[in-house]
C-alpha cells in the first residue's frame, strides 16, 4: 500500500531559526496537501499543490512539490512561537476516489 513518510519526526529550533520538514511518498501523487495541528487541536488544512515542481508561499511558509510528484517540503523562515505544532503532509494517488493518505508528521517545538 501507499506509504508517506516525513522527516524529521521531531524538531526543536530556537525562535527565529528556520525549519524544514520533508515528505516522501512511495508512489506518485496527484496532489499533495499540508496540514498543521496545534497542541490539543485537530489538523487544519494549509495548502494544496498539484503541479510538478510547484512552489507556493504563505507569508513565512514555502511549500514545494517535487518534479516527480513523489516528494514535498515545507520550509518556515524565522520561526515564531505560533508555529508550534505538528505538520502533516497528505497525498492522493492518481486513481479515482482513493483515500487521502497522511504522512507520519513532524512535531515542531520552539525554544523562546
Amino acid at each position: 500500500g501507499q506509504q508517506v513518510m516525513q522527516i524529521p519526526q521531531y524538531q526543536h529550533v530556537q525562535e527565529g531559526e528556520d525549519f524544514t520538514t520533508y515528505c516522501n511518498s512511495s508512489t506518485t501523487l496527484s496532489n499533495i496537501q499540508w496540514y498543521k495541528q496545534r497542541p490539543g487541536g485537530h489538523p487544519v488544512f494549509l495548502i494544496q499543490l498539484v503541479k510538478s515542481g510547484e512552489v507556493k508561499k504563505q507569508k513565512r511558509l514555502t511549500f514545494q512539490f517535487g518534479e516527480a510528484k513523489k516528494n514535498s517540503s515545507l520550509h518556515i523562515t524565522a520561526t515564531q512561537t505560533t508555529d508550534v505544532g505538528t505538520y502533516f503532509c497528505a497525498g492522493y494517488r492518481n486513481f479515482g476516489n482513493e483515500k487521502l493518505t497522511f504522512g507520519t508528521g513532524t512535531r515542531l517545538t520552539i525554544i523562546p
Binding site: 485537530h42 489538523p43 488544512f45 505538528t86 492522493y92 476516489n97 508528521g105
Partner: protein, 112 residues
C-alpha cells in the same frame, strides 16, 4: 452546520463496554474518514467512506471496530468490548474528492 461535528466530545467508560461515536460531516461532502490519534502520535487511519462505494476498512485494528454511514451523511464508529488500549482521540474528517479534509474536534475516549 458550518463544520464537521463530532459527539460526544469526551467519553469515559469501563473496560468491556461498547461505545458509539458520532460524526456529522459537512453537508454535500461525499468522503468521510475516521482516524485515531494517541497522545503525541500521528494520525492512524481507520476507515474511509466515499459516496456509494464500499468503504475502505483496511485500517480497522480489530473486529471489535465497525463503522457505518447512513444515507451518505452521518457516520457512527462503534467499538465493542472496549479495552484500555482503545483510549485515544477519535477524529472524523470529511471532504470532496480530491480536495482538503475538514476535521471535527474529535472525541476523547478514555477506558478505565
Amino acid at each position: 452546520g458550518a463544520g464537521v461535528s463530532q459527539s460526544p466530545s469526551n467519553k469515559v467508560t469501563e473496560k468491556g463496554k461498547d461505545v458509539e461515536l458520532r460524526c456529522d460531516p459537512i453537508s454535500g461532502h461525499t468522503a468521510l474518514y475516521w482516524y485515531r490519534q494517541s497522545l503525541g502520535q500521528g494520525l492512524e487511519f481507520l476507515i474511509y467512506f466515499q459516496g456509494n462505494s464500499a468503504p475502505d476498512k483496511s485500517g480497522l485494528p480489530s473486529d471489535r471496530f465497525s463503522a457505518e454511514r447512513t444515507g451518505g451523511s452521518v457516520s457512527t464508529l462503534t467499538i465493542q468490548r472496549t479495552q484500555q488500549e482503545d483510549s485515544a482521540v477519535y477524529l472524523c474528517a470529511s471532504s470532496l474528492w480530491p480536495g482538503p479534509q475538514h476535521f471535527g474536534d474529535g472525541t476523547r475516549l478514555s477506558i478505565l
